[in-house]
Symmetry: C2
Subunit: 112 residues, 2 copies
DNA sequence: TTAACGCATAACCATATGGTTATGATTTGG
DNA sequence: CCAAATCATAACCATATGGTTATGCGTTAA
């Protein structure tokens, strides 16, 4: 058993995932892919509100986190949302969220 | 007004939440509260692997994000996980991932 | 072959972040 | 009353991060 009181959730994948999702621009880019399907950098840049290089860098981070896939076709790169990418987040929510609600269900009415 | 393809998910609360969850030490602190209930800074520091001031700062950030509550009692501060704090995250997951818009218990297809 | 295109990377900047030790404010105990 | 305890804040440092413009590299098209 781990003698420490805190389980040290330093799982690299989980960390990368939450970090990737912690920026609004990246979330918006991911949402665009979820909503409208596979898109190239040009299309993503049009609505992103940031420069093309920044979009590329954000997409690279999302890819490293496992949230998107990249497909190179000629001079274009097509990105798509990767459904399974959110797995660790779901997992985390399931484990701790469930424990959470279980422990505090009785108090639910008390907080604002 | 902006007819952009990307809906610009810059909601401040959502942003603060994901940012708060994007650090492993903070997640571990939060998990400790979920697991063992309300604790003061001293107890949290014991297993955190970082200094007491750092714990205080992490807790402040979790509090700003709405993930914990703080209760001052004499010279001690007691922190507790806040039930509804994960709401915006759950909301985001529900909206942007139809697959996991249901209960978290439906994880079978996502793992692996 | 050459010019334009699409994208990634480099170089650079400002700020945020995570960490430390030192200090300060307030409460408790002897 | 004074010292210890509890926590937050300050001061400081190194690194990460988000943003820009400039550049380079492969691909398409004229």
């Amino acid at each position: 058993m781990n003698p420490s009181l805190i389980p040290a959730d330093r799982d690299a994948a989980t960390d990368a995932l939450f970090k990737a999702l912690s920026d609004g621009t990246r979330r918006a880019l991911l949402e665009a892919l979820v909503r409208d399907g596979e898109q190239n950098v040009q299309a993503l840049t049009e609505g992103a509100g940031v420069s093309q290089p920044m979009v590329s860098r954000h997409m690279a981070k999302l890819k490293r986190a496992g949230l998107v896939t990249a497909r190179r076709s000629g001079r274009e790169t097509w990105y798509a949302a990767r459904v399974k990418g959110l797995g660790p987040v779901i997992q985390w929510m399931a484990v701790h969220g469930a424990l959470w609600s279980q422990r505090f269900t009785a108090l639910e009415g008390l907080e604002g």
